[in-house]
Structures are given as structure tokens and as C-alpha cells.
């Protein structure tokens, strides 16, 4: 499912436009499985499944598979509906150079919500 992120994000012209000054790679960890996601000027250029030996990334978002499943459900319950809600409950760890994450917070929230059931591509 995570692989579909590339097309779901790139098909949203508004999202890509808002990310036009964003070029970075970040790690998305779903339980024990890491994914390396590379973005160039707002477009996702690759989504690669780990494990990795020495992944280079600007920051990492780490949560259990169960927490991500709730976040990606069609109507997430209270406390699971937003990345910051997960962070508030200490179930999502954001680590690394968070200036990149926070300066493009709307982009990352909306990009990851693209994996939600029923979300428009």
C-alpha cells in the first residue's frame, strides 16, 4: 500500500505545487518495516522498502503498524486523525532534522493522509 504514495501524491497538483520548494528524503517506519521516501520539488520520485544498511534521510517518522492502520482508516478515531494527534499521544516519534518536517507540515500531513482508505488520489 505504501508504494501507492508516489502516484497518489503526484496526481494531486495542488499538493505538488505547495511542495515545490521541498526536496528531501525521509524515513517512514511502519512497525519494523522502514520505507525511504524521496521527494524532488514536491513530487515523490521513489518509495523504497527496507531493510536498509545505511539509509540517509533528513528525518524519520516512526509508529507501530497498529497506529498507522488507525491513522489510515476511512474515519480515524479521535486521537488517530492527525500526525500531531499521534505525536501528542507519544505513539508517533518524529526524529531528525524536523525543520524540514515543520516548515512543510501541511504537505507531510496531506501526503501521508493520501494512504487513507477512500482518500482521493
Amino acid at each position: 500500500m505504501i508504494e501507492t504514495l508516489q502516484q497518489r501524491v503526484n496526481d494531486d497538483q495542488g499538493l505538488v505545487r505547495r511542495g515545490r520548494y521541498l526536496t528531501t528524503s525521509f524515513l517512514l517506519e511502519v512497525g519494523a518495516t522502514p520505507w525511504l521516501i524521496s521527494i524532488f520539488e514536491g513530487r515523490i520520485v521513489s518509495v523504497t522498502r527496507g531493510p536498509f544498511v545505511m539509509p540517509s534521510s533528513s528525518f524519520a517518522l516512526r509508529a507501530s503498524e497498529q497506529e498507522w492502520q488507525k491513522f489510515w482508516s476511512r474515519r480515524p478515531p479521535p486521537g488517530s486523525n492527525d500526525l500531531l494527534a499521534l505525536i501528542k499521544r507519544r505513539t508517533l516519534k518524529a526524529e531528525g532534522n524536523l525543520q524540514i518536517f515543520m516548515s512543510h507540515l501541511r504537505y507531510f500531513k496531506e501526503a501521508l493522509a493520501k494512504l487513507r482508505e477512500g482518500a482521493a488520489a
Binding site: 479521535p78 500526525l83 499521544r89 500531513k109
Partner: protein, 282 residues
């Protein structure tokens, strides 16, 4: 298409607060029992546009909302450019009482959301005689910081973008898009460091956990209404406050988030109108 005007009028009030001249924007609509409205951190009085445009409220209430200094159309005081804005409990209390007095309000009903809901608890405790009833929206006794607040005010992160994005998930899932994005726009328009300065009160200075149980609802009725999807002030936190105060009435609003009066005015009204009726009945 012909123009249509809302029944809201706005004025600028000049008032000394904390020993300094201030220029404060005040909006109002309706006639009757004064209903003084306090906006959330980093936003402004436009959050109460729904109440001011609803004849069920304005038919028997004078609804008043002011923009706090530094917010909306109120200016920061002269000299602001060399200062760091930080809201304290003492300043916030003084501001509400002095603006209410300057407007000549006779024991208004107070309604405040988030930081406004927090100061509502402070006022219920310390100045119950000044209000005929207090309504706290998204009111908790304390919130621990859950992100690095410094990101709200640093030159390499756009303040408007980050403030809007920080709070976007606090809007409930059923809010109409128009009202959701109006609510977020207000956040995107905040001045540099203002949201962060408000959160100094919300997350540090305004902690009232140790004293909230001393609120005496016989001196001033207290109603707490909180949205189900608020993860900043959770329903559990509001319920805990309500449980500790005898006589406090509490409602958890299904589907709503942290900005009920602004994110979904119609849904919010189904919860607010019964409270206003009850206050009128008392």
C-alpha cells in the same frame, strides 16, 4: 448580485491595559443579555461570526467579541518590535475584566474557547461575581507541550503556514470545508510569535490544576463543552475538570473539534442554545 450586510458592527476602543495604551478591535451584534466571547490562541474574534449571525442568539443577547492585543485587527502596543510577546494569567484576567468594564457590561455571560476556556476557569475561580454564567469551550486545567513550540516563531519556518498546519487536525472530521478553512485562515494570518506567546499562558503560566476544584458554581454557574476530536484539550481532560467541580455541567460534542463555534457553527448551536436557555431560565 446584490450586496448583503451582516448584522455585525465593529469599532476600535482605546484603552490603557497593563499601564500602556492599546487600540483594541471590538465587534458586536444583537441586543439583550451581554455575551462576551473570547477567541482561541493565535486567532481572533472572527471565530464567533456564527453566533453573531444567528438570530436565535442575537435575538436576546448582545454578542461581543474583541480581538486580544496583538491579534486580528487589534494592534500590539507601541514598542512591540523590541519585545517578545508572552501572555500571562494576570494580564489575561485584567484584559477581560477591564474590557468588560470599559464596555459597561453588567455581569455578562462569558464564553471562551481553548485559552479562552482556560481563562474562563481562572475567572470562575477568582471573579465569579463579575459574570452571570461562564461557558468554557475546550477548557482543560492544563496541557503539556506536545511539540517544540519554537517552530511557531523562527525565520526559517513560515509562521502562517506552520500555525495553520499545526492546528489543522484539531478541526473535527465533519466540519464543512468552508468553515474549516476559514478557521485555519485566521491562524495563517497571525503575527509572528503571537500564537507561541499565547501558548505560554496555555501550556506554562496558566496551569490551574491545583486550584480548579475550588470553583464555586453557586456563585457563578459553569458549563463546559468540548469537542470529541480535540486532542489538545481532550474530552477526558474536560470531564476530569467537570468531575472535580460540584455543580459544573459538561457536554462532549460528538464529531466536533477544538474550534466548535468556528469550524461548524450550525452543529455547535445545537449544543450552545440549550445552555443559553438554561442560563436565561436561572
Amino acid at each position: 448580485m446584490s450586496a448583503r450586510f451582516e448584522p455585525i458592527t465593529g469599532r476600535y476602543m482605546h484603552l490603557d491595559l497593563f499601564g500602556r495604551p492599546h487600540r483594541i478591535y471590538v465587534e458586536e451584534a444583537g441586543e439583550g443579555t451581554p455575551l462576551l466571547c473570547l477567541h482561541t490562541a493565535g486567532s481572533d474574534g472572527r471565530q464567533y461570526r456564527g453566533l453573531m449571525n444567528d438570530a436565535r442568539v442575537t435575538g436576546n443577547h448582545r454578542v461581543i467579541a474583541f480581538d486580544m492585543p496583538w491579534h486580528g485587527k487589534s494592534s500590539p502596543p507601541a514598542g512591540w518590535h523590541d519585545e517578545e510577546y508572552q501572555l500571562t494569567s494576570a494580564q489575561y484576567t485584567t484584559m477581560v475584566l477591564e474590557i468588560s468594564a470599559a464596555l459597561g457590561l453588567d455581569r455578562p455571560i462569558l464564553i471562551g474557547c481553548s485559552i479562552g476556556g482556560r481563562i474562563a476557569l481562572h475567572l470562575a475561580l477568582e471573579h465569579p461575581e463579575s459574570f452571570r454564567a461562564i461557558i468554557g469551550l475546550q477548557a482543560g486545567a492544563h496541557v503539556d507541550p506536545y511539540y517544540d513550540l519554537n517552530f511557531l516563531h523562527r525565520a526559517d519556518v513560515h509562521g502562517g503556514e506552520v500555525c495553520g498546519a499545526i492546528v489543522s487536525g484539531l478541526v473535527g472530521p465533519d466540519a464543512p470545508d468552508k468553515e474549516r478553512w476559514e478557521t485555519l485562515w485566521h491562524y495563517m494570518q497571525g503575527g509572528p510569535g503571537v500564537f507561541k506567546g499565547d501558548l505560554y499562558f496555555y501550556k506554562l503560566d496558566g496551569d490551574i490544576r491545583g486550584r480548579v476544584a475550588q470553583i464555586d458554581t453557586r456563585r457563578c454557574p459553569l458549563f463546559l463543552l468540548s469537542g470529541e476530536y480535540d486532542y489538545s484539550c481532550t474530552p477526558e481532560e474536560t470531564l476530569a475538570v467537570a468531575k472535580s467541580i460540584p455543580g459544573c455541567e459538561v457536554t462532549i460534542m460528538k464529531g466536533l473539534g477544538h474550534f466548535p463555534m468556528s469550524e461548524d457553527p450550525q452543529a455547535f448551536m445545537t449544543h450552545l442554545l440549550p445552555v443559553l436557555e438554561k442560563i436565561a431560565g436561572n
